[in-house]
């Protein structure tokens, strides 16, 4: 009996090591995706006056529903490779700073999200989700950080009821992912070579997907053009 267990353990260890070897080699042999998301439409940025907590929030703020940068690049779009189950480098962090969610879109793999309050005033983290439990938790000034679990893939809207203009998104995606910068570009590294489905999601403009052939050690460019709704 004991011999069988030992043998099984040894076998598992060997198998594990082999798996690790294969994966790491695979990662080394992965390619990079450079996604370029464009939008040929107007930006949607609402300006409004702030009537409270002005010492922290300022007197004016913006609600950024569509941000279009240089060369029609669409910012804040999430580009993900659902088939690439890589490991996330750093812990996902969503900060509440200057009565805004920073970053506006945070990308994470299913797991824990760290929520910071850098404002020294009350915020409440209110999520609108269906797959994950919806959260509405107060975060008073003395509670600088809290951690929430988001275990199911979903694009979760986040608001604060105290400051109704605050709007953020948490993209819980199973694979490797990135958020486009002000020029509409993001790079995703270590994508396993082969055919990969690339998905793009934007809070206002919806979803699109494409399939590309990723080659090891090369940069594969992929472009999206989002359509207005």
């Amino acid at each position: 009996m004991r011999r069988t267990v030992t043998a099984a353990t040894a076998l598992a260890l060997v198998a594990g090591a082999a798996m690790w070897f294969v994966t790491s080699v695979g990662a080394q042999g992965g390619g990079t995706i450079e996604a370029d998301v464009k939008y040929n439409g107007p930006a949607q940025i609402e300006k409004l006056k702030v009537n409270k907590d002005t010492e922290k929030c300022g007197t004016e703020t913006v609600i950024e529903k569509v941000v279009v940068g240089g060369n029609k690049g669409l910012a804040n779009a999430v580009v993900s490779v659902p088939g690439a189950k890589g490991t996330t480098k750093a812990k996902a962090v969503l900060d509440q700073h200057g009565c805004k969610f920073v970053p506006h879109v945070v990308v994470m793999q299913p797991g824990e999200l760290e929520i910071k309050n850098s404002d020294d005033i009350l915020h409440n983290l209110h999520t609108y989700s269906t797959a994950n439990p919806s959260i509405n938790k107060a975060q008073p000034k003395f509670k600088k950080t809290m951690t929430e679990k988001l275990e199911k893939p979903e694009f979760v809207k986040v608001t604060c009821d105290v400051h109704s203009w605050m709007l953020g998104w948490v993209a819980v995606v199973p694979g490797l992912a990135g958020v486009t910068d002000k020029d509409g570009v993001t790079r995703i590294e270590n994508v396993p070579a082969g055919k990969q489905k690339i998905e793009v999601w934007h809070e206002t403009l919806g979803k699109q997907e494409k399939e590309v052939e990723v080659k090891a050690g090369q940069v594969t460019k992929v472009s999206f053009e989002m359509k207005g709704k």
Binding site: N51, L122, N124, N136, K137, K141, M146, S164
Partner: protein, 483 residues
């Protein structure tokens, strides 16, 4: 066998509370559907989506059951227990249009619980997780003080206001999960708390939040767990448990001057008479969701004048822009002439045959007298004397309005001691768009000026005591002598 079981179960249910779980297990969704269609459908809708025929006129709107989001729950996750749903059906939702359904047999209510859950089966897949409240801390001056500190530290006032009267700066922006505006609770009116006003109810709401609304969970957001109870104790210190509505308004007799200042100590010593107000729904435009639900009346008179001190909550001090908002206002209504019988003018500002007299105060204009023959026929009443001083503090108006006891000029009654005088109230929250017939009001009440104060009450009782004593001594003496 099954019949016997059912009989046993219903017997047990009627015998003890513990049997609730038995009945609960028996909740039959199909039977619940029949009850739902008779009692709930008109507001909550056929599909349970809160879009019944009556929904449009209700604020807050009826619950949409299809999301499985329930405000009132005693759980740490979003799934309410069956008992939570049963309790809401049984006790209703104070301060909303949801009435208590304790009139329904208990079995029907459990069947309803089972049926409601079928509207959002996914939401009930996760088992309810019991909320563990910290150890209870009873109320004391210290606890209330700590509660106030915490109230400020966690910024409850952002929505609920400094003194809890639902007048915080975020009030106007608050929306529920369905995008409908939702006002914060007025913490000084515990009887309007949706999920009940016991200490445990309040502590549970603070700890677990109110799902689907902006009210977040605070269990992990206070400095120490027991702060939940300090907050509860502070909230209990903000207002009375019950409004103790009055039936007869007493006007106290005083000999000295009556102060104009609504914050004077004089007024604090008088007992408030609380009067409930309802929306005006008889003539257009109707007011299905009145903003002002209570006026607290203190009143005094001396040999020259009568004065009324009115207190009411209004979250915004409004002078009005004339389009969406209007000046806040309040009026006291009396018959233009006091008749000896029980005849009174029509309560809604009189009619063509009988006029009413109004003592009215309006933000920005002050006090004035008016005469009305219906809500569309109001005219100023000249020649009298009237004064009014109002203050607005933390979501509350306090007003002193006074006039001479004896009528000066036509169209107004004189106030006489001990005479039962009909009185009614009307109020407008201009900030909420109330103006003209869109108001909250009362039907007729009576007020009575108590008998004029005199020193007789200090003289007569001692005289009676002395005389009785003398008589007793006399009787004893006579009896002794007779022996």
């Amino acid at each position: 066998m099954l019949v016997r079981l059912t009989i046993c179960a219903s017997l047990a249910a009627s015998l003890s509370l513990a049997a609730a779980s038995v009945a609960q297990a028996q909740g039959d969704a199909n039977a619940g559907k029949a009850v739902y269609e008779r009692k709930c459908l008109l507001c909550h809708g056929e599909k349970g989506d809160g879009n019944g025929a009556g929904a449009e006129h209700l604020a807050p709107r009826p619950r949409d059951f299809t999301k499985g989001l329930y405000k009132i729950r005693t759980t740490a996750n979003k799934t309410p227990t069956d008992q939570d749903l049963f309790n809401v059906i049984t006790h209703g939702m104070p301060g909303t249009s949801m009435p208590p359904w304790a009139v329904l047999p208990e079995k029907d209510r459990w069947n309803l619980v089972a049926y409601l859950k079928t509207f959002a089966p996914d939401a009930f897949k996760e088992a309810p997780k019991k909320l563990e409240l910290p150890k209870e801390v009873s109320s004391s001056a210290e606890s209330i003080k700590r509660g106030k500190e915490m109230f400020e530290a966690i910024e409850c006032h952002k929505c609920h206001g400094t003194e809890g009267r639902a007048d915080g700066p975020s009030r106007a922006e608050l929306k529920d999960e369905w995008g409908h505006p939702i006002p914060p609770a007025n913490l000084a009116k515990r009887w309007t708390f949706r999920g009940g006003a016991s200490r445990t109810d309040v502590a549970t709401r603070i700890a677990a939040g109110v799902l689907g609304t902006p009210m977040p969970a605070f269990l992990d957001a206070v400095e120490k767990p027991e702060d939940i109870w300090h907050l509860t104790n502070f909230i209990f210190s903000l207002g009375a448990e019950s409004p103790h509505y009055t039936t007869l308004l007493t006007v106290t007799s005083v000999s000295g001057a009556i102060p104009d200042d609504p914050n004077a100590d004089f007024w604090k010593k008088l007992t408030p008479n609380n009067v409930p107000l309802m929306g005006q729904v008889i003539v257009d435009p109707r007011n299905f969701n009145p903003a002002i639900d209570l006026v607290s009346v203190r009143a005094a008179y001396n040999d020259k004048e009568v004065a009324f001190h009115l207190t009411w909550d209004d979250p915004t001090e409004s002078k009005g822009d004339g389009k969406q908002t209007f000046p806040d206002a309040i009026a006291m209504q009396f018959p233009a002439q006091l008749s000896a019988g029980t005849e009174r003018p029509y309560f809604l500002m009189g009619d063509g045959s009988d006029a009413v007299y109004l003592m009215r105060w309006e933000q920005g204009k002050g006090a004035a007298e008016a005469s009305a023959n219906g809500p569309a026929k109001i005219g100023p009443l000249a020649g009298g004397e009237i004064g009014g001083t109002a203050v607005f503090v933390n979501g509350q108006y306090r007003l002193v309005i006074k006039r001479p006891l004896a009528a000066k000029g036509e169209g107004r009654p004189s106030f006489r001691p001990t005479v039962f005088t009909p009185v009614a109230f009307q109020a407008w929250d201009g900030g909420a768009g109330e103006t003209g017939p869109k108001m909250s009001l009362t039907s007729w009440y009576y007020l009575r000026l108590e008998e004029p104060q005199s020193n007789r009450r200090f003289i007569i009782p001692p005289v009676v005591v002395i005389l009785t004593l003398a008589a007793m001594i006399l009787v004893v003496r006579t009896a002794n002598r007779a022996r």
